[in-house]
């Protein structure tokens, strides 16, 4: 019977294959650690306060270049000029900032941008600020490209009535001290298609609508602009470009092998194909397109791609464990339908995360300032989806752990009767159990490495000192390492679980006991040829 390659591969070949894969894994980690910069970079900038004398909310106010705005100075504020209105002050962010006497511009390799506001509100003893207020912002985002004139700002997004909750506290109540205020998530751009960006923010005051009533004295406004690093994108896309054809090729090879068999493909083989497909979808280097086309939906698409991959991977583990249960069931081929109860946890979790993602990131396609967390209803909705996803993740892991426990329980029960079997059968089953355990170990190791790496990344400060000249960029190394690891893991699964052409079993040839081989061949004529492990289970149950 042609079993899986894993069962027929000699120990030497298996160890060569595994060490090759391990080397690839280490290379992936080191590429991230030594070549790639950190995944993202935060640039913190202070707003220039411009004076808008005539409430020209249609104009663009910018702080650098020809025709830059008139500055609003601190003494204008303190003078008792009651005609000065809140709308006369425009907080201007023109980014990226110039450095080394050069104008910097954004590159499309930098992919996306997140903007966070940090207000600096000074304490005034005569008029203390409320602890929590709803801040109303009037925001306008514009862009300009290289070659455009200094005033050729084009609108990208605008919102006159953007609400954010601002929590401020102060420990040392001394005049001139700043309140300790929460950050305000302002915007998320899914693509950095243009070179320069301009943000005009006003804090309108309206007594009738009660807007910005409890606001203190905003001394300064900071914007933290977080973008992906161009170098990281380049390394990441290169990895994808390498992995994509390899995984596609191995899938084609795998499916050809499966089709060469006389039987129809088994469920586990379908699952492997799905897994490869999901990984390929994740591997497609779509980022190349963003260099030419404005694709603001890339962040959402990236989330969906990762989501699909994890959903298929989690389902695969459940089915994998289920197919190796070694309990007697009907001989008919099982399909995905028989796992619907277990897989529904994965489906519910992924679906609720998808809904949340589409609500948040999908809305940001229309309005980059949108955030689901601003309104009470939105927060509750988002939280309930996330909690639902968390619950289904919990249910899933309970299922999975129970399944794996069942498999191991069955294996140890069968092991007890192993000595009573003929030597060839025993050796064979021992090897199969060993390799099954080995693969389980690999899975657990992969998952554990991901978790440990994640925790290390949270604890460490992002980079480790290797020696004086070299620093290991841990965050990037973690990302490329994990990405490479799952690619290699799935590559190994597809290779090792592909049907073997070799006459079974190669190892017993060495030991050479023909009579027992015949005996086993007689036994192994089961019509459902999933893997010899499952057939073994059914046989022993029949015994």
């Amino acid at each position: 019977m042609p079993g899986a390659i894993l069962e027929n591969l000699s120990g030497r070949k298996l160890s060569i294959l595994i060490s090759l894969l391990l080397i690839c894994q280490v290379v992936c980690f080191l590429i991230g650690g030594f070549i790639a910069p950190p995944p993202s970079h935060a640039e913190r900038m202070l707003a220039t306060q411009c004076l808008d004398q005539g409430n020209n909310s249609k104009n663009w106010f910018y702080s650098r270049g020809k025709g830059s705005c008139a500055l609003f100075r601190e003494y204008d504020k303190t003078s008792l000029d009651h005609r000065m209105q809140a709308n006369n002050i425009v907080f201007v962010f023109q980014f990226p900032l110039p450095k080394d006497n050069m104008t910097h511009d954004y590159s499309r390799w930098q992919q996306n941008l997140i903007g966070v506001l940090e207000p600096e509100i000074t304490y005034q003893p005569e008029a203390e600020m409320e602890q929590r207020i709803t801040l109303t912002l009037n925001v306008k985002l514009g862009y300009r490209n290289k070659g455009d004139s200094d005033d050729a700002w084009k609108p990208l997004a605008a919102s006159s009535d953007e609400k954010r909750i601002l929590d401020c506290s102060i420990t040392h109540k001394k005049p001139g001290y700043y309140y300790n205020c929460s950050d305000i998530p302002l915007l998320e751009l899914g693509s950095l298609h243009h070179d320069f960006y301009l943000l005009n923010i006003r804090l309108p005051v309206d007594n009738d609508k009660q807007t910005n009533q409890g606001l203190g004295h905003v001394h300064g406004l900071w914007l933290v602009a977080i973008h992906q690093n161009g170098g990281f994108t380049k390394v990441w896309v290169s990895l994808k470009t390498v992995f994509f054809p390899i995984v596609v090729a191995i899938m084609i090879w795998f499916w050809q092998r499966v089709h060469q068999l006389s039987r129809s493909p088994a469920l586990l083989e379908y699952m492997l194909l799905f897994l490869g497909g999901a990984l390929t979808f994740l591997n497609v280097p779509l980022e190349y397109l963003t260099l030419y086309v404005d694709m603001p939906f890339m962040v959402l698409l990236g989330d969906i791609r990762q989501g699909i991959f994890y959903a298929v991977l989690l389902s695969f583990w459940l089915v994998f464990a289920g197919e190796h249960l070694m309990i007697q069931e009907s001989a008919e081929q099982r399909t995905l339908k028989s796992y619907w109860k277990h897989l529904s946890a994965v489906a519910v979790g992924c679906f609720s995360l998808l809904v949340f993602d589409i609500c948040e990131r999908g809305s940001q396609l229309v309005n980059p300032f949108y955030s689901i967390w601003v309104t009470e209803l939105g927060t509750n909705l988002a939280l309930s989806f996330i909690i639902l996803a968390g619950i289904s993740a919990g249910v899933y892991f309970i299922f999975l752990v129970y399944r794996i426990w069942e498999v191991f329980y069955n294996i140890s029960a069968k092991r007890a009767v192993l000595p009573s079997m003929s030597s060839a059968r025993r050796l064979h089953y021992q090897g199969v159990i060993y390799r099954f355990k080995f693969l389980m170990l690999a899975t657990v190791l992969c998952a554990a490495m991901t978790v440990v790496g994640f925790i290390l990344g949270q604890v460490s400060e992002g980079h480790w000192k290797w020696d004086d000249d070299h620093e290991l960029e841990f965050t990037s190394a973690f990302f490329t390492g994990v990405y490479g690891m799952w690619n290699i893991y799935i590559f190994a699964l597809i290779v090792l679980y592909a049907p073997s052409h070799k006459q079974w079993p190669s190892e017993t040839d060495v030991r050479g006991n023909s009579s027992e081989e015949i005996e086993f061949s007689r036994l192994a004529t089961d019509p459902s040829e999933i893997s010899s492990l499952t057939s073994f289970a059914r046989k022993t149950a029949m015994d």
Binding site: P37, P39, S40, H41, A42, E43, R44, L46, T48, S63, D76, H82, M84, Q85, A86, Q94, P96, L97, P98, K99, D100, N101, M102, T103, H104, Y106, S107, Q110, I114, E118, E120, Q124, E126, A127, K174, G176, Y177, Y178, P185, L203, V205, N212, L215, G216, H217, V218, W222, V224, I226, N229, G231, F232, G302, D303, Q306, L353, F356, D357, F454, G462
Partner: protein
Amino acid sequence: MRGRHRQRRRPSNSNRVLLAATATCWVLALTHLHSVAANWMYLGVVGIDTTAALQHQQPADAAAEADDPELVEARAACSQPGLSAQQIAVCMQHPGNLRSVSEGARRGIQECQYQFRNERWNCTTTDEQSVFGYILERGSKETAFIYAVTSAGVVHAVTQACSSGNLTECSCDSSRHGKNTKEGWKWGGCSDNLDYGMEFARKFVDAPDLVKPDKNVKRKKAWTKRMQMNLHNNEAGRQVVDKLMRNQCRCHGISGSCELKTCWRTMPSFNEIGDMLKQKYHQAVQVPIKTPKRLRRKSKGKRLKVDKGDLVHIHRSPNYCVPDLQKGIPGTSGRVCNKTSQGPDSCDLLCCGRGYNTQVMKHKERCQCKFVWCCYVRCKTCETQIDRHTCK
């Protein structure tokens, strides 16, 4: 005890430091031999000539041709009162930064006056170019504070100017990722603006104290000791800014999870820096100029440990109670004190035991205020009667 003893024996102490300090700024000192040395902190009092500096706001694209008009412009911007020759040289390299230096000095002096508003020495400034006059010459705790706070002020102001895009000279320094080119920042971003602020402050503020002692200077050892003290305190001030930087992070991984987290550093307000420096002022360490052999042997095992962040001084503080016009100490008579306080502003301490006068005054105060962004406070006026105590 040792300090007092030495001081009594050598009353010419202050003259010696005066001589040393004047020699430090030998270029400008020629015109000020009769008075005390000019100081860069003077920029914080008078500000800088805006017309000269404004021209530098625009970055010159054709910077490759560093020809005469630019040099002339830079020289015009840098010929400010109070700068030493070394500082002018630094300024010539970064003419645009001088405005931030002035702003930093202003912040430092303002903070000093706020922190010491209740003390016997209330950070009095003079109109002269030396700004603090005798206090800067002496080398006491107060001198240490002034050096630290103004140095921190420059770091603060330069960093802030970089962040607002006003200073185009701030360096990007993306060299950590091996690509220090124009495209470097696209590869891995720029370094924190604070790095540039610290580096520039180190170059500019430390410049006068980095010159080698002139051969003509007597008591070379004392002079170098004083310069070491200045350098140490400058650095301590800068370290405070660095230490008070807060780390803040934001998660933006898949679906906004913390799979991917980006952190940045937030600069403290200058008041916080002042607070911390004031604490350090109270714990300042006095370092003897000469360490006599006998004493050193005695104190073996418990030698004074001076931390990098500590303020150090070499002289004891002068008596701030009695006016000493020659030294520019106004004394505390006439200062308003607090009768109920237990701190340094209490009438007992501030008036140095001389007693105080009490006046009953009508006090108009703004009360029940409501602040309306952006520009005004709506208040009622309350009238109260208060007792005002002033030192005799």
